[in-house]
Symmetry: C2
Subunit: 259 residues, 2 copies
């Protein structure tokens, strides 16, 4: 045996279990077939770093959110695409407020959880593929640290171009990121340095997610400073018009469609 996971819908299986634990409905993960086992998200970095974190926060109601999430939803206006809707926590609040919101995710399991929780308008797939569906939006949300979806210097402009193709005039992107460069932990500073030597952003993480017997392929996920984000946005159809870093190292970046 190799110790390698089977490729599958890691995020979806994890959210399904987290939802079962939260609601008591459906089969729940147990230790020894008896004691409830909390659902843990496991993130592996390609240098061997691994971190686990309880997955329950994906289901948190607004009372348990961080302040930046509240400020993010207060910036929403018009038809909104929640990119990486996850378990739907943001979409559910927007629905309650009467905002026309569409939840998009590449994880089929995540959309199943969203549907059970009452999110009405859901799209399975990538932002790029969604362009052909003909729907257009005024606000794009990349919350839950999803500045990460910009990945790096190749994918970033391509994702922003796809969002521009989905945009109505005057559209905005509200994106949540984390500035990774405040740390002095050599496990991180060494990783950043090796990345830069290879022409990557320091915080351009190479990750995979794992849950029980499943793993994702390795993928890039960008943890960058507001300055690096500005560099990525330059030359695209978007302008970086605001950075709210009141909860530094976390920040909310607002992009607006240029022209």
């Amino acid at each position: 045996m190799t110790g390698q996971p089977r490729i599958g819908d890691v995020f979806g299986e994890m959210l399904r279990d987290a939802y079962a634990v939260a609601t008591g409905v459906g089969p729940r993960p147990l230790a020894g077939g008896r004691l409830p086992r909390p659902v843990i998200e496991i993130i592996e970095r390609d240098d061997g770093l691994i971190n686990g974190a309880p997955a329950a926060h994906y289901l948190d109601g607004p009372a348990d959110w961080q302040p930046y999430d509240h400020r993010a939803v207060d910036r929403v206006r018009g038809a909104t695409l929640d990119v990486g809707v996850g378990a739907g926590r943001i979409a559910l609040l927007l629905q309650e407020r009467g905002v026309p919101v569409t939840g998009l995710d590449t994880s089929a399991g995540a959309l199943t959880v969203c549907r059970r929780r009452g999110v009405r308008d859901l799209v399975h797939g990538t932002v790029d593929a969604h362009v052909a569906d003909g729907r257009r939006y005024d606000t794009f949300l990349l919350l839950g640290n999803n500045v990460g979806l910009l990945e790096g210097r190749e994918r970033g402009p391509a994702l922003l171009a796809a969002l521009a193709a989905l945009a109505r005039p005057g559209a905005q992107v509200i994106a949540h990121g984390t500035d990774p460069y405040g740390t002095r932990d050599p496990v991180h500073t060494g990783y950043h340095e090796r990345n830069r030597r290879r022409g990557r952003f320091g915080g351009q993480l190479r990750l995979r997610l794992r849950y029980r017997e499943l793993g994702t392929e390795w993928f890039d996920y960008l943890v960058c400073s507001p300055d690096e984000l500005a560099e990525l946005v330059r030359g695209t159809g978007w302008r970086l018009t605001d950075v709210d870093d009141r909860d530094a190292p976390y920040y909310l970046a607002t992009l607006r469609l240029a022209g």
Copy 2:
């Protein structure tokens, strides 16, 4: 980069962080350098299965223990060796009760945490190496699922022989195990079947622990039924005299020195 961890004192680093989180003393793991990050124990199995579980339970006081732990400590008598003392939760209660207890662990970091928490008598190393120290015991504790330390058909009798060499006349072993065969989850039943085809116990797990950038080597850890335990004990200096399975699938096995 290979995605492989650096070999190190995984368990010790994890317990040190869990202790820092529990007490607020010393550097604690943070997400984004700001939000407290719960300490998660990550266990990888050689078929690619991975599980995370909060590590805080290693520090639990008696009020939060499972019932079998209470029944285990009530069986203690005489000079006691706590094999795999961990963060010392069992040893601390025994000390309070006036039992002469020695905590043994191969993890230097675990012993550091024990010392800070007030465990007085600690030995760093293996049971086998401890024989030469000349100390002898009336009770050996293998709690926290540490039937697992018997590993399999090779190591099991060798560990039991080392315990017999450390034993006073009439000594006992109190060991906590889990019967793994109640599950119908194919991820587990398939693993058990492959193990048996290779001449191993079904629940003879091949594991490694991971914490942040550290990993252990792969090692065997035995999750077996009471019948399999009886098979392992046969022909050693010990007799399996009692199995308390009131909290099945968990059980407490008592071994007594024969003759």
